[in-house]
Symmetry: D2
Subunit: 200 residues, 4 copies
């Protein structure tokens, strides 16, 4: 079982990433289930803005897309800004949009039988809406959304500390990370054994 | 200046309402600004489900609508369920939908020059998305949305205590209630002095 | 394979339901796949507003819930009002909220291994957001969201005709209904053969 | 009266912009009201991803921000991708996020007394949700949202033609552009005459 985790923080390395820190909890659990996990921080790569799978010279997306197509599980990890997902996560979604016409050798959308999960962090409220946005977009292009497949963290009402600066209720977020890993693995296994066929 | 506050908790009186408790903070501040405020708990009235301004026999909405049309300010207060607004708030929005064709004697939508604000409470994440939903719907039917016109409270990540059971960061929510009151009053005053004219 | 379709139109029978008309297209296709389908129009039943699985005397939800728990597939069909889901659909989601603590004899959430799909109609824009809201809520309580598991219809920009009054692009919506049926069936089969285990 | 229109299409010039085409209808109407309008296509400028008002060397945002701060009206124009706003629009929102701490000489958020409006185009459904997202974010940072302050266009259900390729219901979108211009101008005038004071 292979999983790709895309960290959509706005900040490139080596700046610390709160979203990356919570994503790591999901990764640890995926690995306990025997999955081979690859983590890519989008801000470290020249992913060109656009809606095609290859935006031409210098575009880092085709290589990331190859990893995605080679994976059974996709985890989108994103911070919350202004109550919604980051522009970096949205840029990734637009690139995934390029997959609509792509079919495998059985005539199926190339995303069929792949499973999605989510990690969201923010100072403030917004995570559940972010999950709704991402789940809708990924399901629309062909991913299956596992049950209870997201964990999140924020600071409660109003601006405040970030994930890496706080100990507030992190136990809950980390506990839920286990649930997320177990569920995306379980659905991916089910679809591996009994794949969704090509649409008639 | 008159304000109407609609508490869209799912629970009828005399059950305690967390949403009502935070709404009261906004009401106190509106009254300090000299506004006359009326609070209505929708669950205590037989508001019939539908999209017209009068759904017939026994419908409590026409009387509430009269208060709304007589007010300069509308505050929608709602709990968060499953990351979004309550069915009670949505039922209110559907009834407000009945106002689209209504015009005043100047040919303006009857909601023009009225100002909206928001109060959201929940155990969990979702408030900002709820505000987005409500702000969009009310703006669409003709309300003006004042800046920084919502306050909210939740418990941070995961399920937990309710507003009335907790002291967690309530100071922030109450402080912001002052801001909300000041801003809806200020915009309502501006529109009273210089009203939006009828569309040409 | 059993499927439950909940029509969340605001209007009780015998008024015509645009949402019901498009839902029927999905139902026909589910039946072609051999599924036994039950259609319930929520507005025809006294589903009491609240967040528990039994709200007491006269509540029609417990009987509907029994059908839901006996089904492998749940299709939520809802109109769009003010760009979002109907209060009737939201009321259903609040009642489904009552399932969070419920576990089967293996210690699993009772919604695990059930699959969701969606039907949305409206005069105007909003369907995709409605799907995001519903998919998030159902996934959160334990449903799996099949890929490309919704069909919708609207009239394009601005208010206009309803589904039953129009022929505009209905071919697309009906064609996609086939895809929806095929995909929810396929994922339900996969989970029947290889169920998601209880969380550890 | 000054207005700034930010076209958040993903495509740089000289590629045609559907969103730009509908935005032009709002611009024409703003100019008829005597407003001085500036149109900036974000994709033509090196706006660096981040949440501060100046992201350092080569960042095109500070110059755009100067125009924004010098304007009474801000129109965000964005395409719809996967049912939500473009990453370019989201990048703009993140940069506007940098304005939270900024105050004018009266101690007011620098965005107070500025008014927002919206233009959304897409092949497919999503515009109203995009408006909800943008209205919430801008209101949160201090803009006032005028009533009925957006116009949009799409092709109805499913993928299809783009704005510039189609004549479908464009009359509605263009008619509403007039309404948008009139309303943002009217609210901006009201706030110029009776400004929102500094929070107490």
């Amino acid at each position: 079982m292979k999983a790709l985790v895309l960290n959509c923080t706005l900040k490139p390395s080596p700046q610390p990433s709160n979203t990356g820190a919570l994503a790591t909890e999901v990764i640890k659990e995926l690995e306990k289930h025997g999955a081979k996990v690859k983590l890519i921080r989008i801000a470290d790569h020249n992913v060109i803005t656009g809606t095609k799978s290859d935006m031409g010279e210098g575009d880092a997306w085709p290589a990331i897309l190859e990893e995605l197509l080679d994976s059974d599980i996709l985890i989108i990890a994103t911070p919350t800004w202004m109550g919604t997902l980051s522009s970096m996560a949205m840029k990734v979604m637009e690139r995934i949009n390029g997959l609509y016409p792509a079919r495998d050798r059985y005539g199926r959308p190339v995303t069929y039988n792949k499973v999605a999960g989510f990690v969201v962090t923010g100072e403030e409220d917004g995570a559940r809406h972010v999950v709704a946005e991402l789940a809708h977009g990924l399901m629309d292009v062909g991913f299956t959304i596992a049950p209870q497949s997201y964990t999140y963290w924020n600071n409660g009402p109003g601006p405040g500390k970030k994930y890496l600066e706080s100990e507030f209720r992190k136990g809950w977020s980390i506990e839920v990370a286990k649930l997320v890993a177990g569920n995306v693995i379980a659905v991916a296994k089910a679809l591996k054994k009994t794949p969704i066929p090509a649409p008639k």
